[in-house]
Symmetry: C7
Subunit: 254 residues, 7 copies
Amino acid sequence: MQGQSQQQAYDRGITIFSPDGRLYQVEYAREAVKRGTASIGIRTKDGVVLVVDKRIRSPLMERTSVEKIHKADNHIGIASAGHVADARQLIDFARRQAQVNQLRYDEPIGVETLTKAVTDHIQQYTQVGGARPFGVALIIGGIEDGEPRLYETDPSGTPYEWQALAVGADRGDIEDYLEEHYSEEIDLDAGVGLALEALASVNDGELTPEGIGLATISVGEEGFRQRTDEEIEAYLSEHGLLAAEADEETDTDE
Amino acid sequence: MQGQSQQQAYDRGITIFSPDGRLYQVEYAREAVKRGTASIGIRTKDGVVLVVDKRIRSPLMERTSVEKIHKADNHIGIASAGHVADARQLIDFARRQAQVNQLRYDEPIGVETLTKAVTDHIQQYTQVGGARPFGVALIIGGIEDGEPRLYETDPSGTPYEWQALAVGADRGDIEDYLEEHYSEEIDLDAGVGLALEALASVNDGELTPEGIGLATISVGEEGFRQRTDEEIEAYLSEHGLLAAEADEETDTDE
Amino acid sequence: MQGQSQQQAYDRGITIFSPDGRLYQVEYAREAVKRGTASIGIRTKDGVVLVVDKRIRSPLMERTSVEKIHKADNHIGIASAGHVADARQLIDFARRQAQVNQLRYDEPIGVETLTKAVTDHIQQYTQVGGARPFGVALIIGGIEDGEPRLYETDPSGTPYEWQALAVGADRGDIEDYLEEHYSEEIDLDAGVGLALEALASVNDGELTPEGIGLATISVGEEGFRQRTDEEIEAYLSEHGLLAAEADEETDTDE
Amino acid sequence: MQGQSQQQAYDRGITIFSPDGRLYQVEYAREAVKRGTASIGIRTKDGVVLVVDKRIRSPLMERTSVEKIHKADNHIGIASAGHVADARQLIDFARRQAQVNQLRYDEPIGVETLTKAVTDHIQQYTQVGGARPFGVALIIGGIEDGEPRLYETDPSGTPYEWQALAVGADRGDIEDYLEEHYSEEIDLDAGVGLALEALASVNDGELTPEGIGLATISVGEEGFRQRTDEEIEAYLSEHGLLAAEADEETDTDE
Amino acid sequence: MQGQSQQQAYDRGITIFSPDGRLYQVEYAREAVKRGTASIGIRTKDGVVLVVDKRIRSPLMERTSVEKIHKADNHIGIASAGHVADARQLIDFARRQAQVNQLRYDEPIGVETLTKAVTDHIQQYTQVGGARPFGVALIIGGIEDGEPRLYETDPSGTPYEWQALAVGADRGDIEDYLEEHYSEEIDLDAGVGLALEALASVNDGELTPEGIGLATISVGEEGFRQRTDEEIEAYLSEHGLLAAEADEETDTDE
Amino acid sequence: MQGQSQQQAYDRGITIFSPDGRLYQVEYAREAVKRGTASIGIRTKDGVVLVVDKRIRSPLMERTSVEKIHKADNHIGIASAGHVADARQLIDFARRQAQVNQLRYDEPIGVETLTKAVTDHIQQYTQVGGARPFGVALIIGGIEDGEPRLYETDPSGTPYEWQALAVGADRGDIEDYLEEHYSEEIDLDAGVGLALEALASVNDGELTPEGIGLATISVGEEGFRQRTDEEIEAYLSEHGLLAAEADEETDTDE
Amino acid sequence: MQGQSQQQAYDRGITIFSPDGRLYQVEYAREAVKRGTASIGIRTKDGVVLVVDKRIRSPLMERTSVEKIHKADNHIGIASAGHVADARQLIDFARRQAQVNQLRYDEPIGVETLTKAVTDHIQQYTQVGGARPFGVALIIGGIEDGEPRLYETDPSGTPYEWQALAVGADRGDIEDYLEEHYSEEIDLDAGVGLALEALASVNDGELTPEGIGLATISVGEEGFRQRTDEEIEAYLSEHGLLAAEADEETDTDE
């Protein structure tokens, strides 16, 4: 309904409403999210799984520097998709919120509380002039009162709670896979398997440990834990997802 | 009277008057409200009913995270329609107003007082430059001096008081239904029934408990109360509105 | 003399002069006033009459929430026409001015003093950038030194004093009626009658109590007084202006 | 030399120079002055005369509320032409300047000093962004060191001193009349006559007391004095300028 | 090289460079200077001469109010050409600088020091956004260490020192005359003669005392001195420049 | 997919999203980086190598003033490519961060910590209005906990860690060379050789000492060390990269 | 590659990147530099030479007021080319930096330190909105630790060190001349000769003392010294560069 030339009018300057009530800058920021590689979050009985696609431009780039999974607190992890530099700003904001909460109330911040602090921050950038929206979506997973919780923040500043979700490239296909295979009854290990299978489903059924980031946040004492390449490789083998060339490449690089 | 190309001139930058005395950004914000799913408020003899349409994008999304009904105080509830992130800002504003009133005067804030504080806040965003209007309408229901009160705030910052109203998608059809069937004499239970019937009237006469949010604010001690899926299902059954597939879906998901 | 396309140039950004010395944003704000329903003010020997047209969108809307007459102080009432949310801002400003005057000088604020404080406030929004003009006209009526006074504020920030006036829709026709029938010698009761007749003259000669707001500010101790539906109905009957269907509608609704 | 379309470029945003060195916003503000009814100032041996054309929109409007002559101090009066709300701002500014001068130096402000304070204030609105120029011209008349002085301020912020001048509508014709008939030797009474004759010369030779404002600032103790309708009528009769219908209208209205 | 339409791009908003390295707003401000009547400065052995063309709009305007020569300090005079209200701002700035210098260092400000303070002030308005350049050129003449000094400030904020110069209308022709007839050896009296002859050269060889402003700043104790009409008339007679009609007009007006 | 004319809309004003989710100003800033001569960083077992292409406009320019390698701290060096003046701002920012860290924690700043402080600073210039992004990429190399580390900052504000990388002109070709020949096992000396060979590979296989900048940051006590022309020449000779004309030119110039 | 119309987009508002990574406002500021007459700097064994082309508009203008060589400190001189008023701002900034350094550290400021303070100041005007870049290039020459140093600042804010350079008109031709004839071994006297010859090379081989500015900064106690017309004339005679008409013109003017 909106022609090419009329649409242009809403792209400039501050974020304003179009005649049909849309905020184009926010919608364009969502496109920036889609340009990022996929991230997946799954809530299980005993914890949350975060899996991210970490493709790198060059074999000479350190994979660890492509940070798509961040520890926000001992009990909260965040995965992102979209504009990397924007993600870093929100992660920093989230960490400060977590610290302030700990200092002020002497207890860990709630996952929902943290999520809403982040989304309120994001919303400001969509209403007040002089800045653009954040071009990033976050998956915030953590433990609150012994229960796993899994949230999403989008560029409009809306918080959503999920059982399992994907953000970034191929979101639709991955969510279709998750909807078909997800059950609330699965445990953390099964959740890791499901997340890797879902990601593999949009990558010809194969993954390399180097191209993957994996973290789990368990209800137990362990809390947030980044998983090593070895662990990832074991999971991939177990699920028959290990790419043939991945083995070779690993030999060459290390 | 206003052609396509001339209209464009009023969409940009700050909110200004068009030659025929309209504020286009405010009108476009009203379109954002219409893009949201419907919310309904009904004032009865002994309380206020808030019913919202909570359609979710995916079965994996937590329905509780689609927050369209909010508790502002023990005696005040707020339902919203439109831009979700904007709604959250106004809800937070309303809650702070309620708290400040309690602290300053040691008594609960009046429903009208709260509504007008919110609309004044909204109006500022339509007159002073550097920000866009809020793309959300609120239904504020509560008890004041033992009497149920029901208000609406719109994106222009105008407060209205209602016996029964709808905001968001299908507003016109739902209000037609309400005008035909509403009576001031009904009690809270009948009000819940009427609200559900009105919402069903634009949904092929059927509703699922999962797709509905329901809260009541009664003149009694109970005050604001979110209703459970079971209660909603009972109401739907009682009024012959329970969707056939709703039962199945419930089986599958839980 | 001003073509369509050239005129556009003066609608955007801050309020500036057109080549023929006009301020288009102010003129467009006047159009916003004309879009509002009519308000009438009449000065009589012993007080001021304020009558407003309060059409409502729906029978379910509370008529009292359509506030077009406001008490600014015990001795001053204000009727408005135009953008409702803007009117609320100016009313609040006027009330604060009245309170400050009382506190600072320990005496009620003068009607002229209050009017000019309001118009100076309005003028700022037409000269300094970063905001749009107020899209509302006020009728400020009150008692000063025992004398009734009646003022108008327009969107340019100009104060006018009147014997009788109308603002909003049908201003021209109502003022024609007033010019023909007004006499300085009439008392408050006759003034109420004249105001209702003038309003009826542009409504097929009939009015319903529900569609009318009426307040009087008398030189006596009573000061500002909102009139009830019953009083309005009595006036309408007395002057043969009571609409036939009004009676029915009243039956149905109450 | 400046085409229609190129001229448009200089109307928007802040006041800037056109290629031929003109400030269009200032020139357009001068047009706003011409849209106002005429005001006349005449300097005589023993005082200054201010006469203004006070046409009113409606017989129901209070003529006294059309303020075109203002007392700035006991010895200084100001007449205006153009945008009324802007004039009020400058008059307020002038009065504050007069008060500050009295408080600080314990003596009345000089007419030239006051004029230049006003023009400096006006100039700022033509050079610094974020506001539009003042759309008003002032005639500032007063007594300084026992001598009558007569000044003009224009929208560019330039002060001029005159023996006799007009601003607003028909300025050219009135000044032609003044140039032909003015003599420095006339006294205040003759000055009043000349001013009325000059104004009548562009009104078919007739004036009504109600359509006129008249003030004199004499070198004597009296200083600034607004003249009553009776005095104006006497002057008009004396000079054969009294409109026939004026008598009738007076009968009708009072 | 710069077409009409491309040039437009540099006229708007803040002062920025064009592709060929020009600042159009500054160049347009120079056009504003050319729109002003001419001012001439001449440095002689024993002082500086300032002569200005003071044409007035009407015989009723006080010539003294057309201020084109200003006393900045006992030893410094300033003549201007261009936008009068802008000139007043710079003159005020110059006077404050002179006063501050006197207070801080207990000695009169140097002519060069003053000039550069003024040009630095002017430059700011050509580089920093939110204001337009000053549309005026100043001739600053004075005595420094017993030596006459003569400076020019232009709208770009560049200071120039001259033996003799003109600014405003007909600058080119007057400077041609000065280049041909100026000698450093002339004294103040001869300098006055030369300045009047130069101005007459672009006015059909005739001048009237009323149309001229003349001031001298001598190295002696006298310093800055505005010359009276009588002195100007004597100079004009002596140099055969007195206009025939000037005598008549003088008779008529005084 | 993005046409020429539509793309224009995103080049102006503040940095905003395009419909496909890109930030054009950031992408254009990356073009500014590509306009700069190449810089190379290589991480070895025992230190980091920084090599830069320092072509100079003229033989009369001092090569040392073309600063493309900077010492940020004893243990950190930074090479840049792109807009030189922007690079200087970021280098200054980095140095202040290093000093503050030393003062506050009494220990050298970590390489990763410093890199992220710089990228956060860069990101702000891409989101908040009123400034343009930085048109420069930095290679930050240093020693942290005895381990060599090598980072890149790009105009979006994203930090990357590398084993070996190039920024600026010919980035793609140089990185191809590095990918083919790099091994983590090489030592600092071999790393210098590889960097020079990589740079020579896009310069016809030859380099002159004068056209090269070289610095090493070793894990030993030496830390950051700029290498002399003699050292560079020795390296070039050793690797058969010394340009024939370089010898001659050296003779001529020194 | 950049068409006329597309280029326009980057000329307006704040300084931003073009699609090919250029900053047009900075490039246009460089054009402003080219519009200025040439300035030359030469570094010799025992000092720095600054020579400037000082053409004046009129024989009546004081040549000394065309300031293109400035003393920044006893040991530092600065020559400029381009927008004169901008140059004055940078010179003032440089002098304040020199004074602050002397006060704070009790030692003269280093030439490189001063240059970089100036270029950092310039850079700010190219990145942060609300102002335009400086339209001027500076040659900063001085003595640091007994060694002559010669720097250039350009409108982008980049510092360069040179053995010999030219800025302003004919930069290319003059630098060609310098590259051909410059040797590091020359002393100050030979440097003056070379600078004059280089300037003459683009002026038909002839120069007049009046059209030249010359200053030297020697390593000895003398430091910065402006040279007189007599000295310049002697140099010109010695090098056979003295224009024939220069002698005549000198005769005529003095």
